[in-house]
């Protein structure tokens, strides 16, 4: 439902025609032709009463409250469904309209319980508001003193099945807003209206409870509900909020804008903000509801230290913990050398915090041993896009998908991992865009309500490059290259080399079919569709995720994607582009902030003397010109005895990184491991110092999402442990003898802007003014850059690179005949540290192994059986689910629960360019565990 401070008046919808001028209540107003009169009224400052209309939903015309009179026309048309025309004279108030509206409201209220004083929506109820607006003074029908609202489901029980919201059919006015939100905004089609007359009611699924239905708990229906029919349980428990704070979600890389509604320092609810440009008022079950971890009893709020990892933790003061850490790090450096310590930066933390950690490493540590958890997800994106297009970032806005005619989704599962973007994508497909899915699994997008992929190239794990090269072959050999674009925008020699390579017979779909398992005809059809578009409309966009990057050829695949986009002219305008779907909220930002061991902020190499000198002057230190260690290299060096101290901020490599045995052995070999986190995670089991972290609700800063959008994170409550993460890093730097002077994160951003050309125009004042900014933002682009590479590539000319398919070393054998691939589900998030501490466990309580019926039958495995999964590096046990989502020969699991040990079995194979682990391909055997 709507907060009182957010006036819900169909504000987002305007027509698309030429501007027309009309009069509403004598006020002249100009709007695009076709704009609903209700919206034109808003533009004229005239609020027309309404109930069934809602922000972002199509006009519905059922409530009959928004009736108006139009000069020269008969009757009382609904203003939400009547388009504005030139010269119209509209009246919104008249005695007859008032009478009609009162009659309508009277009928509504005759069918509604009159328990306003004890209702959860009291003070935030549009029905209540409209009753006041229309001047309702009596209700003549269907009421009695004993049983007000007697017609409406007085004996129907509430549906309390969903952990986050309640459904009370007695309060429903059948406005259809929830049903339409589920269809139009979310695209799940889980709700409908069943029954007739007084028997009409909202029904989930096939008359099931919300939890048993297809509902994905995105909360769109709850937000749309004008009454307390669908209402957050936290609102029922706590009442209405006192204030709201605009902030940004800390889950995936979509970066949804939220309004945190707060009472004192207690969050009452998180409401997706209509003005959030990444989400435009929508959310998913994680951002909308799964924020309770922030105050979970497991939160550690006191610093702790211990001599040995076998010792119990001892709570200490911040001062003692920090001085102990500083002493230990200096001791280690004295013993093992300057380069024997380093840090891991979290892609969950803010830009300002990430910037500070890399600054700490390059100043107080005196080396470049800093890396970010983006290493294990999207580092190949940074490499591949920099090499080809010239910038380590996606090219578009999320909104750009609304202009796409062909959408390729490769190695990504947006419905689960980037659900708010998936809703936008599905809406575009429902409008007629064609969809190509390239994925080993039949992800939801392949076939879901009113969405069906034109092509699903169900390739074998590890063969992305084979399929992409085969698509390139079709484009080159069938004359589908956009020659004019390539000639004008790309390096001629590099293109000629690539064209010759792509045209080779060994890169044909037929030649690569045996490797990829994808029928050549399907590859050819998909390539043609991508290159030629739909009915002459040629905008084709590629969206990809970790199913591309987390391979031994992850960088090659990213390059191959960029090659396809350049070859077909699909770069530099809306509706096209190369779009990495970042896994975490601030993957893009942490990379931008210089968190890699070879790059300073703004992706400038440490060997670049001019850049180094810029930072050296500002920071007053000398910066090493050689790259430092990446995360996997740090672990190897620990076992080698040359890397002995780690500051690990907001990251859990012991659960999230591959080959757990290797990771934990390396951590155990270190002399001082410092973990800064919300909870004692798996890595903290190997730590000597624990510094309490702060959740996104407890600090100020910015996140940068997958579309390069910098958005503010605002403090909603004080840090539970007394320090925001940036303050902890400052204190550690001071303990190490390097003082940094910032009173607020805005000052850190000022320094970033001063030293980083692509951020030169970014400041907190500017963010306040604009809401959010997509970098580059500087003198050349003072409003930011929604679409990149418009007239020229960042590197000048686009650069094609040859992408030879090299099979992974991870081969199936008779001993390990199946290929395991991994991913995440909608309700859980990465290692689950947050979502496992919320009611999201009601939706997904354990990692499961998906196995095809054929493979299951061969092994005597039935649904729910506990199975052993064994790879070359380890063995774990998982419950099996038998499903045709995976192809024969492929199994799949998630990694949300430490006890399932998904990474006990993944290997250390990694991307050739960046060492991003090959999580997506592990040869395994699966067998019934026999209860072992």
């Amino acid at each position: 439902m709507n907060a009182p401070q957010e006036l819900n008046m169909a504000g987002a919808r305007v027509g698309a025609g030429d501007t027309v001028t009309l009069e509403i209540d004598g006020i002249a107003v100009s709007v695009p032709a076709g704009t609903p009169l209700l919206r034109a009224g808003v533009a004229a400052g005239v609020m027309i009463p309404k109930l069934c209309d809602s922000e972002g939903l199509k006009p519905f015309g059922s409530c009959r409250l928004c009736l108006v009179e139009i000069e020269g026309r008969k009757g009382y048309p609904s203003s939400c469904t009547t388009p504005a025309e030139a010269g119209m004279k509209v009246r919104t108030q008249s005695p007859q309209l008032a009478k009609l509206r009162r009659n309508v409201m009277e009928l509504y209220i005759s069918d509604h319980p009159l328990d306003c004083l004890t209702c959860a929506a009291n003070g935030d109820c549009e029905l209540q508001d409209m009753a006041g607006v229309v001047g309702l003074r009596e209700v003549r029908y269907g009421t009695s003193d004993a049983n007000p609202g007697e017609n409406h489901f007085t004996e129907t029980a509430k549906d309390e099945s969903n952990p986050y919201f309640s459904y009370d059919p007695a309060k429903c006015i059948v406005c259809n807003r929830c049903v339409r939100a589920c269809e139009e905004t979310q695209g799940t089609f889980a709700l409908t209206i069943t029954g007739r007359g007084f028997g009409s009611r909202v029904t989930a699924g096939q008359g099931e409870s919300f939890m048993a239905s297809d509902c994905v708990s995105c909360g769109a229906c709850v937000k749309a509900c004008p009454t307390a029919t669908l209402v957050e349980k936290t609102v029922i428990d706590l009442g209405q909020a006192e204030r709201s704070v605009a902030t940004t979600c800390a889950y995936c890389g979509v970066g949804c804008g939220f309004r945190a509604e707060v009472k004192g320092t207690q969050v009452v609810r998180m409401v997706p903000a209509d003005e959030g440009r990444a989400n435009e008022g929508h959310a998913c079950v994680k951002g909308r509801f799964a924020w309770g971890y922030a105050t979970h009893p497991d939160r550690v709020t006191k610093p702790m230290i211990r001599e040995k990892i076998s010792d119990p933790w001892r709570e200490v003061s911040w001062e003692e913990a920090l001085s102990h850490t500083a002493k230990e790090f200096r001791r280690i450096q004295a013993k093992h050398g300057t380069n024997s310590i380093g840090a891991i930066v979290s892609s969950r933390c803010t830009n300002e915090e990430d910037y500070l950690v890399q600054k700490l490493v390059r100043t107080a540590f005196g080396n470049n041993n800093v890396d970010t958890c983006a290493r294990v997800c999207h580092s190949p994106t940074g490499y591949g896009l920099k090499q080809t297009l010239g910038e380590s970032a996606g090219t578009q806005t999320f909104k750009s998908v609304e202009q796409a005619d062909v959408i390729v989704v490769i190695g990504a599962n947006p419905s689960d991992a980037h659900p708010v973007f998936a809703s936008r994508l599905k809406r575009r497909v429902r409008e007629g865009a064609q969809l190509i899915v390239i994925d080993p699994r039949a992800i939801d997008l392949v076939s879901s309500p009113h969405v069906r992929a034109a092509h699903h190239l169900q390739l074998r794990p590890g063969t992305n490059v084979a399929v992409l090269s085969a698509m390139a072959h079709v484009i080159v050999s069938e004359g589908l290259v956009d020659e004019a674009f390539v000639a004008a925008r790309c390096e001629a020699k590099a293109f000629a080399d690539w064209r010759e390579f792509a045209a080779r017979p060994e890169n044909s779909p037929e030649a690569l079919e045996a490797a990829s398992g994808v029928p050549a005809a399907s590859v050819r059809a998909a390539a043609r569709l991508y290159a030629t578009g739909v009915n002459g409309r040629k905008n084709a966009a590629i969206y990809y995720g970790l199913g591309v990057t987390e391979h031994s050829q992850g960088s090659t695949a990213v390059i191959a994607i960029a090659n396809l986009a350049m070859a077909t002219g699909n770069v530099g305008r809306e509706g096209v582009g190369v779009n990495p779907l970042r896994g975490q909220n601030n993957v893009q930002g942490s990379c931008d902030m210089g968190s890699f061991p070879h790059e300073l902020p703004g992706y400038r190499h440490v060997s670049d003397t001019a850049t180094r000198q810029l930072f050296e002057r500002d920071w007053g230190v000398q910066i090493q010109s050689e790259p430092g260690l990446r995360i996997p290299n740090m672990l190897d060096a620990a076992l080698d005895g040359s890397f002995m101290g780690l500051y690990c901020q907001g990251e859990d490599p012991a659960q999230s990184d591959p080959n757990t045995q290797h990771v934990t052995a390396a951590l155990a070999a270190m002399e001082c491991v410092v973990v800064q986190d919300l909870f004692v995670n798996e890595t903290a089991k190997y730590a000597h110092v624990f510094l309490p972290g702060a959740s996104f609700l407890e600090k100020d800063g910015t996140f940068t999402n997958a579309e390069r959008r910098i958005s503010r994170v605002r403090r909603v409550m004080p840090p539970l442990a007394g320090k925001a993460d940036w303050e902890t890093t400052l204190a550690l730097a001071k303990a190490l003898g390097y003082e940094m002077h910032y009173a607020h994160p805005s000052q850190i951003m000022d320094e970033i802007a001063r030293l980083t050309p692509s951020f030169a125009g970014v400041s907190y004042a500017r963010l306040e003014q604009m809401g959010s900014i997509q970098w580059p933002c500087n003198d050349a682009a003072p409003e930011g850059t929604p679409t990149m590479h418009v007239d020229a590539f960042v590197r000048g000319k686009g650069r094609f690179l040859v992408t030879q398919y090299v099979p992974t070393d991870e081969k199936v054998t008779r001993r390990f005949p199946l290929l395991l691939t991994t991913g995440r589900v909608l309700s859980q998030y990465n290692v689950g540290a947050q979502t496992r501490r919320t009611a999201n466990t009601d939706f997904y309580a354990a990692d499961l192994l998906e196995i095809h019926p054929h493979d299951a039958e061969e092994r005597g495995i039935r649904e729910g059986d506990r199975v052993a999964v064994e790879s070359r590096v380890g063995r774990t046990l998982l419950p099996a689910t038998v499903t045709e989502r995976v192809a024969p020969g492929v199994v799949y699991t998630t990694f949300h629960f430490p006890e399932s040990g998904a990474n006990v079995i993944t290997t250390e194979n990694s991307d050739w360019a960046t060492n991003c682990p090959e999580y997506k391909v592990t040869a395994v055997q699966v067998s019934r565990s026999g209860g072992a």
Binding site: F501, S555, P597, H605, V802, Q804
Partner: protein, 69 residues
Amino acid sequence: MNLEKLIAMANQIGAFFEAMPDREQAVADVASHLKRSWDPRMRQQILASLGTADEARLKPLVREALRRL
């Protein structure tokens, strides 16, 4: 550092660049990649393998690139 792993990583880099039509450029690119993305201790260790029995396990392109570091 584990030499086995370093050799495998270097050969992976070599496998990408050996598809390039200009071999001279490919050698330079492998060298540049190692120089720009590997920590010096990793480079030193793999360089130490040149002239030993381990050298044979390196792709020729990688060997050539290492000699330019």
